[in-house]
Symmetry: D2
Subunit: 85 residues, 4 copies
């Protein structure tokens, strides 16, 4: 399964994290730092759901069409739970 479309978005998050380190080094205001972390978490969550969607559209779909989906759906929902709980 290919997720190349996520690479520019992850590179943006990488830049945000570097920006965060700089904000802390420059002793920026706590609340501004927290807002930047919140933005990075938001971006990672959005990327995750995109990857889940790709995964359902490929791996899970194929498993269902091959009649061997039980394990794949179990694995998927365990992963979803990790993000939701």
């Amino acid at each position: 399964m290919k997720h190349e479309a996520m690479i520019p978005r992850l590179k943006k998050v990488e830049g945000q994290i570097r920006g965060l380190i700089k904000m802390i080094e420059e002793e920026k205001y706590c609340i501004d730092i927290l807002q930047q972390i919140s933005a990075s978490i938001g971006a990672l969550k959005s990327i995750s759901v995109e990857i889940m969607k790709n995964h359902i559209n490929s791996c899970v779909k194929n498993a269902i069409l091959n009649g061997s989906d039980e394990e794949k759906i179990e694995e998927l929902t365990k992963t979803i739970y990790k993000f939701i709980k």
Copy 2:
């Protein structure tokens, strides 16, 4: 799709919410109230993932087997995002 197995778990949450109202009426300590709310949220999240799993195992699976899955997967991932974001 049937989710009857969720009913006892939802009744337990309903009882927790009633317990919460009583805790507030009796002016219990804030942190104890918050822990009870956290437990209720945790229970609701866990119920949600169970319902998602049932949904994938029935509605989404059927849609995939019928070749009409695009909309169903879109709808599912939008719902997952609502819980994750």
Copy 3:
């Protein structure tokens, strides 16, 4: 600390949970059930932050003014973490 203002909001959530049980009994569509759960979780989160705010404005504030805040702030941040993690 008093949180009576939260009681009508919790009663609304209690009603939502009862509505959820009915939706399952009537075999409503999974995604509609999930949206209702998501709304209940959202309401509980919003109530929680309100209670945290009251708690900071009373218990935590008093502890700080009395110079005995270390334990209270530790307890508060542990509780915040429970909701965020």
Copy 4:
């Protein structure tokens, strides 16, 4: 307010994000990628609560001791809500 102690932890997250990009380039399994993202989100959340704790222990505490805390507590709880909702 100083948060230097967060810098090594943020550098670790930065490394995790770079690792994620590599995992995608090497077409690793979706679920493994998602687990790595989940770990990064977890680390960022834990760092956030640490920064909130420092913020309460310094900025919020000082505002309370100076009797000018209303705005600070409002700002803090709005930020907490951003992470919890």
